[in-house]
Amino acid sequence: MSHTPPASNREYHRQIADSLADSFLRRTLDKFAVEYRASRDKVFSEVAERELIGRIAEVKDSAAKHIEDLYARFKQEAERRGAVVHRAADAAEACAIIAQIAAENGVKRVVKSKSMTAEEVGLNAHLKKNGIDICETDLGEWIVQLRGEGPSHMVLPAIHLSRDQVADEFEKATGEKQDHEDVQRLVKVARRELKPKFHEADMGLSGANFCIAETGTLAIVTNEGNGRLVNTLPRVHVALAGLDKLVPTIDDALTALQVLPRNATSQRITAYTTFIGGAGPCAKSPTGRKILHIVLLDNGRTKLAADPLFSQVFRCVRCGACANVCPVFRMVGGHRMGHIYVGAIGLVLTYLFHDRKIAKTLCQNCIGCGSCKAVCSGGIDLPALIGEIRARFSREDGAPLPARLASVAMKNRTVFHTLLKFMRFSQRPVAGTDGFVRHLPMALFGKHGFKSLPALAPKSFREQWPTLERRPAQPKMKIALFAGCAQDFVYPQHLKAAMKVFAAAGVEVVFPMTQTCCGLPLSMLGETATAKEVARQNIAAFAGDCECIVTLCASCASHLKHGYVRLLGAEAEAFAAKVIDFSSFVHDKLGRDVLRLQPRPEKVAYHASCHLCRELGVKEAPRELIRRAAEYVPSKEEESCCGFGGTFSAKFPEISAELMRKKLENVTASGATRLVLDCPGCAMQLAGGADRQKLNLRVTHIAELLADALAIGLE
């Protein structure tokens, strides 16, 4: 796997195809994804995870606001302890400052410990150009340096390589035959080869995890022990770090240190955490003191600190967790998911620090599953940042045709719904095109092959509404139903099943006819103005009196509840507060005695839709309902993404298909004959896949399972 950034979309798809065909990479990343989850859960169970993450976010947000004060304090404190602190405006200046320090001190040989910031500025190449020999000493970094590649993961730089490939590289480097099986022996090779380098070097180069302003202290986290050798043995030590590494106090660093190693490698703490407070004694230095330079890099960071949305990236502690849990990373690996930094944050930083053109291609490759946000050490809303980058591209470079058409069509509900009816009556069926039916106008454009696609229903839910029973004799409560395009026009059976459940529980239902698409696809396409307009139409449509606004679509629910408040602020709050997803409504608002179910002799598996389990945090309600309606059989990785992701499955069908295959494999292994879910998008993906693969598996909405299990006879 080479590490050239894609020059075009087409090239990017070629690179993705190579990654998907790399069976070693696939096996490794699959195994990693599963094992990481388990070990992470275990090591976080001992601490107050959300509270610590909240504190990191608070500290870092405040650091971003007071960046100049922190810098001044840090510089003063570090310099009174014998260090020299530099500030580099950009990558070129950072390289020049470090080359200058090297020249002034007659440095010929440099040993380096891990620093993503050095990768960011291209330091190795610059020093090499200046005739300086620079050697990576972190094992993974050394391996990728020998191969002339960049790291494919921020914490595990060589995760894409097999021991066999590593042994090959070591044979070239040492000129000796190497063991191709025994990893322990390969590690010893690195120990032996690199040991003399530490002793010969004139300069040690490191990064820093935290720059503590109150005392001018560097905190550095490592496992291999190379980091401490790098900053101890040579007479000169240069630490390069971004301005975002500044924190006010020792306590702040210690807070973040409770999360960073847990998130990075599932360790409570790394083998070595080092606090360097100034230029201490050094035998090799002519002055008897260490020559210590600290270079703090701006490279766009002060501008970022002032950005209302993107200042969040200051919270990043480079733990790499956002790659570890990302379903796309799992499929394609880090070299396909970021220019220097990889994973979710890599997509964002490629845009902010590196190349807009590369970023434009790479940022499309996010399915929006929210897994990264759920584990991020700083609680960064990564999918929102990635979405905003996409939106900026379409605003600045002009929206692609489908987005513009969607925007025009959906601005006016009557036009939009007429268009849908036209599509149904036209002989060219929607099935066979994209299948992105929840975001229907897109259905006119894409292509697909790995799953069967549903056709539009002969009669939409709104057309059937007048004939449906919706007011029980003695209603216990009154709700309004939000249909969402996909269920209104493709899966009216989901809504009809829900109507049966509501009727059985004595719930009166109103269906405001002027409701329209929730607008999520518009937001995702960057059509913010139309998204706002559509949101206002829906808020007006649901102005009438009702206790809850219930929807059977997890994506709509999350957009109505969170997206509207993001778009419109206070104006949407009363509406948003009433929105509830179907499973939570049935579980939380209707008691067991109100809705009586007769468990069916059926093995039922559950797929937790991304928007439900992460965006809305609804986890137990649907599982509890399944237990009441049938035999619930847990399956592996219930909360991993099905691969639908709205426009994603049209843009990256090759990745979408793999995610779907994995999901169905886990479900079938559970022995279930029915799979239930809470989202028509997931239904489309998984029902289509199950049909295509001819599996003995019914895929239904959870409302359909409950309707089947209604204990009518008991009433």
Binding site: G225, L254, I269, A271, G280
Partner: protein
Amino acid sequence: MDTEKFIERAQAVAARVSRAADEEAVAHLIAEDQTRFGAENVGVVRAACGIAETGTCVVITDDEETRLKTMLPEVSVIVLRADDIVPNLADTAAFLRERQSGDRISYTSFITGPSRTADIERVSAIGVHGPLDLHIILLEG
């Protein structure tokens, strides 16, 4: 309580832990290691405190010699008084701040288990650039 937790957590990251009742017992344990591995392969230092939550030894390594003793020899021995164990990582804040008070220059090492890597196929390997073996001698009473 903290001592037991410390031992469990240190052993979980592949440290060897011995208990010693007095200085004499400490000296005896060190001599044993020196005989077993060769005196030049054993580096001995004293910890300022320990952290139960993580099984960590906190070592003042301001001077190079002490620092190198924890890095270069294949066997690293750290003597820690059981009374100096604090419950959590966050409890070391005051100690760290004191070490930097005024113009003081310091270098503090939090050491947890022998050096390790998982950089090749995520296989855990002990002993990369630092010690292959970390022996913690807990001095009790």
